[in-house]
């Protein structure tokens, strides 16, 4: 068992603290067998009280009958009614508890599973997310968890309940009449196998129907989103034909599913009632022969119908077992992916902002590395601009500072400490970055900007937004800063998103800030306004700016020109303008094309 737990860390984690609910559930299941007393009470009533026949009574009941006597019960029928109510009351209580404990177990397991998965997903390195499909992960985290929740929390207790019911029923029936007891379970093996086999088939057909529905809804979705193309080519009629084909295909497949289900319920109902019929007819036979009392016949038929329907479900539950293991395997696979670790000493030094790259190489396991020996130093408060050709490794360079990736060789040093030795959360808190395509959380703009410091004042928030030149834009929205963004809110333009992300990053008050081409969707004038506002801030952070705009680049203390993973050139605007190279080529193009700004603003 221990071995298995080690093999399934997620499973053992989720079971922790919930085993007691499962055990309590099991107790309630056993307690629920009190309902087996109900037929006994009616049996006692019929045999002894009404007919004066105590021959078929079970031990304790017989003692009771002998002690109290028939006349007492006849005069006080309410005693039996009360007993009946008491027994049903108890069984109702146990049933209720079973439901409650089962729910506690199932939901407790699901809670811990979800929690573990979520934490794990967040701690996985960025590289993992880059190479895994979002839809697939989300699918696993929802439907596989649901599958396991149902199986471990609900169905395992169902199996137990079925076994207990059959065992208790047989142990009561066997002493009364062994042959009849045996006969009362004769169809069970067939019933179990039949439902197991059927549900395999049903599932296969269900998958087919599901796929057909998938095709149909994809078709519909494409039709709705491609409505212009459809109309422009006048294809409505053909589209309807295509739709009808898929629609009737789905109809046929799901109807076939109903046919299978019909066969299953019909046949298993038949088998179940056949079992009750068998018990009854044989019981009548024994009664006529005088070997069984009326009350006991009632007990036998009641017990048989109490057993039949759970047994029918058993086959189905057992066939779910395979599915549950598959689900578990898939989830354990996610959990087995290694999370981000601290490769070094996990220091949390105060960060002033000196950044040094020493012979940094980096590659995504490919022969031609993204960065091939990059070295430079930025002093605290300096602004470094980066101009790079397409695919030159600019983004990788800044991501290495935050240790989103790790250098393959060489090292990045912050205030003289290798980033590998700095605790990653501390490191990231001290480095602000704005991505080219920023991600905003689906909540209000205010919550997005204040996301790293939710307790910041309104004033601070608006100041940051003003620096990012987005305050006025936000105030123009109907709900201002309370406007929802993301999936359930308004769609911001690329430039607006970038500016909100800049404001968000400024709230971080980090000593090192990075703009990864993050003003590309902002027009030149706003771009200039933002840069000016940044310059006027009280504290100067070490700033990295990736851009193509010479007007942006030329203000930096120095400019790195990256080509094919190497620093092709480095210097101030005037230095770079004095040599032939990518920088001057770009500058020339921008000046030539009538952008007077370049010559206006970039006089060194």
């Amino acid at each position: 068992m221990t071995n298995n737990f080690q093999r399934f860390p997620l499973l053992s984690y989720s079971l922790k603290g919930n085993v007691r609910w499962l055990l309590l559930g099991a107790v309630a299941v056993v307690g629920g067998t009190v309902s087996f007393l109900t037929p006994m009470v009616t049996g006692f009533l019929v045999d002894f009280v009404l007919r004066g026949d105590s021959s078929g009574l079970l031990g304790p009941l017989k003692t009771l009958a002998d002690r109290v006597g028939r006349d007492y019960f006849l005069a006080n029928l309410w005693v039996l009614a009360l007993a009946l109510l008491l027994v049903t009351g108890l069984s109702a209580l146990f049933n209720h508890l079973r439901g409650r404990f089962t729910a506690m177990a199932a939901e407790g397991i699901a809670l811990r599973m979800r929690s573990a998965l979520y934490t794990h997903l967040q701690d996985l390195p960025y590289d993992y997310h880059k190479h895994t499909s979002t839809g697939d992960l989300v699918q696993r985290c929802s439907s596989d968890v649901a599958m396991l929740r149902r199986f471990i929390g609900v169905q395992m207790l169902e199996i137990l309940r079925t076994v207990v019911i059959v065992a208790v029923a047989l142990s009561i029936m066997a002493p009364i009449n062994g042959a009849l007891a045996l006969a009362s379970t004769v169809t069970f093996p067939v019933l179990i196998v039949c439902s197991g086999v059927f549900f395999k088939k049903v599932r296969a057909q269900f998958t087919l129907a599901d796929e057909a529905e998938g095709r149909l809804s994809t078709m519909m979705q494409e039709n709705y989103s491609g409505v212009r193309v459809v109309r422009a080519f006048g294809q409505q009629k053909q589209e309807i034909q295509r739709f009808r084909l898929l629609n009737s295909d789905y109809q046929a497949k799901s109807y076939r599913l109903s046919r299978l289900l019909g066969a299953f319920w019909g046949i298993s109902d038949g088998l179940g009632y056949l079992q009750i019929f068998t018990t009854m007819m044989l019981g009548i036979y024994f009664c006529v022969k005088g070997e069984l009392t009326v009350g006991n016949l009632m007990i036998f038929t009641s017990y048989t119908s109490m057993m039949v329907w759970p047994v029918r479900q058993l086959g189905r539950v057992l066939s779910d077992f395979g599915k549950a293991t598959v689900s578990l395997g898939r989830l354990e696979e996610i959990m087995s992916a290694p999370v981000e670790k601290e490769p070094g000493r996990a220091l949390t030094p105060e960060i002033r902002g000196r950044v040094e790259f020493r012979e940094v190489c980096f590659g995504y396991d490919r022969p031609d590395d993204v960065l091939k020996g990059v070295s430079f130093t930025a002093e605290p408060g300096q602004t470094v601009a980066i101009l790079g050709s397409t695919g030159s490794g600019k983004s990788s360079l800044v991501q290495l500072m935050q240790r989103l990736y790790r250098c393959t060789s060489g090292g990045v040093y912050i205030d003289g400490v290798n980033v590998d030795d700095i605790e990653r959360h501390h490191l990231r808190r001290n480095i602000g970055i704005v991505l080219q395509e920023p991600f905003l959380y689906s909540r209000t703009i205010a919550e997005n900007i204040k996301i790293v410091r939710p307790d910041a004042s309104e004033q601070e928030m608006r100041a940051a937004a003003a620096t990012a030149a987005v305050d006025e834009v936000i105030m123009e929205f109907k709900d201002g800063y309370d406007t929802m963004v993301g999936e359930r809110g308004v769609t911001l333009s690329g430039g607006q998103k970038q500016r909100v992300a800049i404001a968000r990053m400024l709230m971080q008050q980090a000593p090192i800030i990075i703009f990864d081409d993050s003003m590309s969707a902002v027009d030149t004038e706003t771009d200039r306004a933002i840069r000016e506002a940044l310059r006027n801030r009280r504290s100067r952070s070490t700033t990295f700016i990736i851009s193509h705009r010479i007007t942006t680049l030329c203000e930096a203390d120095f400019i790195l020109v990256l080509e094919n993973g190497r620093v092709a050139d480095c210097g101030t605007h005037s230095e770079l303008m004095s040599r032939d190279g990518l920088y001057r080529r770009i500058a020339d193009i921008q000046t030539l094309a009538g952008d007077e700004e370049v010559s206006d603003q970039c006089r060194a």
Partner: protein
């Protein structure tokens, strides 16, 4: 689909809505009738079992006689067989009815959507439409079909039970029936709460899915902002709520069922007390008492069934209204009856009456607004000769797309006329125009299926040879044949398996094969690699040849080569002429062109440095 706020649930039942929806069911009269008959039979057999037991007890067991046991057994067996067949039949027929209704409502909704105007599509997100036509339709059909099954059974069973009990012993029947009102109240109360609770569970569940989604999509941002713990804190609130609501929902259900059974046993207890007494005085037989005990333990079934169905209808009210309102949305663009008579409809065109199109397009005093308040175009006039290429440039929102939308008759002018070959296009059917129209979107839209199927979209009857010819003409052939399955390559949902450039080329081939007289292109702004860019430019030149073309243009090459360039500003033409004429003007176009030129040069330089 998460973006759609669902309307709230506790709405009053609106019988009118459901009456319309039930019409769908009753159009399958045969199936409905079969279901009703089956359920009647099944319920009748269910009522028979306690009677059979009664007969057995009174005649065989008490008398200790086996006389007549064989016919009894045969009858019993026959009922078992009949009931199994009944179960088989109702599950199958019920499923059939459900799937038929689903397909029918969906068909109505889909066909209606094919005719709804663009103003509807503009304000309705695709996710909303999809939710209406998929999940809402599914849940409505399910309720309609199975409510017919369940109500019939419950009614026959309940009425039959009481009738039989009454026949056996009116006095005992009346006593036992005292529990019915309590059962009904408890059932109605719980079923409503249970369904409401289940809805809450579903809501939280979809928020949890959303949270997973966000954590994965925003993984990079979360790391850079060190949001892990805060995110987890919020997620924890969600999953705690999930546990709370789920447990609550389970507890409700597991309170309801035992409670109902307990109520049932009150009935049994009364049967014991009063029935027992009646036996001793010989008023009823032992078998009758046993039958009463049996009936009282099952009485709750039909009652809670009816309560559940009522609650389900209430839950589905919002879905039902949304679907009906979609089907009832009026069409804004409607052909005049006389136009339909002569030229046919979209579904039954009368092509023999269609005059051929040469491709002259004229805007005559056209004004247009998407809403009453503001006009996007004001008294717009433009005459385009057959075969002429018009490039539309200008800022976003200036009205370029509106002009194109009007040419395609996606919208009709608020005032003024659009003339095709000198005739107001409202005097012709829209299919007449649209079958002669080719259209390529800014983000090319492909449909799931193979490349060949996509190229053949407008001409499904075309041969492989024609498809290849079209692809060759727009230089798509080479990249297609380089793919593993060539023309049979699946493009994936929305063309996701192809690159943007490849999707462009395929959509060009689609236009070539359709061979339209009028061509509309909304050019993409996104950058594409140099090689594909060249192919696309060449393809555009090929397509433009001999067709009247409107291009919302971004590429300098396309703009330069146009016969006429129109600068659109504030809903009108501010500059018009050839490239050299407009450059000489040194106006808006000049600025636009030089900026664009610079950007393209710069892109080129950055690309070259990286190669």
């Amino acid at each position: 689909m998460q973006g759609i706020e669902e309307q709230d649930f506790d709405q009053k039942l609106d019988l009118g809505t459901w009456k319309r929806l039930f019409k769908y069911a009753f159009s399958y009269r045969g199936v409905v009738l079969q279901i009703l008959l089956t359920m009647g039979t099944v319920a009748a057999i269910d009522i028979c079992y306690p009677l059979l037991a009664r007969y057995a007890i009174d005649n065989f067991v008490v008398q200790r006689s086996s006389q007549g046991v064989l016919p009894f057994a045969l009858l019993y067996l026959a009922l078992v067989v009949l009931q199994s067949l009944g179960t088989w039949m109702f599950v199958e027929r019920g499923g059939k009815l459900e799937t038929l209704i689903t397909a029918r409502i969906r068909d109505d909704a889909f066909c209606h959507l094919q005719e709804l105007s663009f103003s509807y599509y503009d304000k309705t997100p695709v996710g909303y439409l999809l939710a209406r036509t998929v999940s809402d339709v599914t849940s409505i059909s399910e309720i309609i079909a199975w409510s017919i099954v369940d109500v019939m059974w419950a009614l026959v069973y309940a009425v039959g039970c009481f009738a039989v009990m009454f026949a056996l012993s009116p006095k005992l029947a009346l006593i036992v029936m005292l529990i019915v009102p309590f059962l009904a109240v408890v059932s109605v109360y719980f079923q409503r709460r249970i369904l409401r609770c289940q809805r809450d569970v579903r809501k939280v569940n979809s928020r949890i899915t959303g949270a997973y989604n966000e954590s994965i999509m925003g993984a990079m941002t979360t790391k850079t902002l060190v949001r892990e713990e805060a995110n987890y804190g919020e997620f924890k609130v969600l999953i705690d709520e999930m546990r709370r609501t789920s447990v609550h929902s389970s507890v409700l259900s597991s309170t309801f069922m035992p409670l109902v059974m307990l109520l049932g046993s009150v009935g049994t207890a009364m049967a014991v007390v009063f029935g027992g007494g009646m036996i001793t005085v010989g008023a009823i037989s032992l078998g009758t008492l046993a039958a009463f005990i049996n009936y009282t333990t099952q009485l709750f079934d039909p009652i809670q069934s009816l309560a559940r169905i009522m609650a389900e209808f209430q839950t589905a009210q919002a879905s039902a209204e949304r679907v009906i309102s979609l089907i009832d949305t009026p069409l804004e663009i409607r052909e005049k009856p006389e136009v339909e008579r002569v030229f046919g409809t979209n579904f039954e065109p009368k092509r023999e009456n269609w005059p051929p199109i040469t491709g002259e397009v004229e805007f005559k005093d056209v004004s247009f607004g998407y809403n009453q308040k503001e006009l996007v175009l004001k008294n717009f006039n433009l005459l385009v000769k057959p075969g002429e290429t018009i490039a539309l440039v200008g800022e976003t929102g200036a009205g370029k797309s509106t002009i194109v939308n009007l040419v395609c008759r996606f919208y009709e002018p608020t005032s003024g006329q659009v003339l095709i070959d000198g005739v107001d296009y409202r005097e012709r059917s829209s299919l007449w125009l649209q079958e002669s129209l080719g259209y390529v979107l800014q983000t090319p839209h492909l449909f799931s299926g193979t490349i060949e199927e996509n190229i053949k979209f407008a001409r499904p009857g075309a041969t492989r040879q024609q498809v290849e010819e079209a692809a060759r003409l727009v230089s798509a052939h080479d990249f297609i044949t380089a793919l593993k399955d060539g023309y049979d390559t699946q493009v994936g949902e929305g063309g996701a398996l192809l690159s943007t450039g490849q999707k462009q080329l395929v959509s060009f081939a689609r236009v070539i094969l359709a061979d339209p007289r009028i061509f509309v292109l909304d050019e993409a702004t996104s950058s594409i690699d140099t090689e594909t860019e060249k192919l696309i430019q060449r393809a555009i030149t090929r397509i433009l040849k001999g067709r009247t073309s409107f291009i919302v243009a971004h590429r300098l090459s396309t703009i330069r080569d146009a016969d006429r360039i129109l600068v659109i500003r504030d809903g009108g033409i501010s500059e018009s002429g050839s490239h050299s004429e407009l450059m000489a003007l040194r106006g808006y176009y000049y600025d636009l062109y030089t900026n664009q030129f610079r950007d393209e040069q710069q892109m080129q330089a950055l690309k070259e440095a990286g190669e």
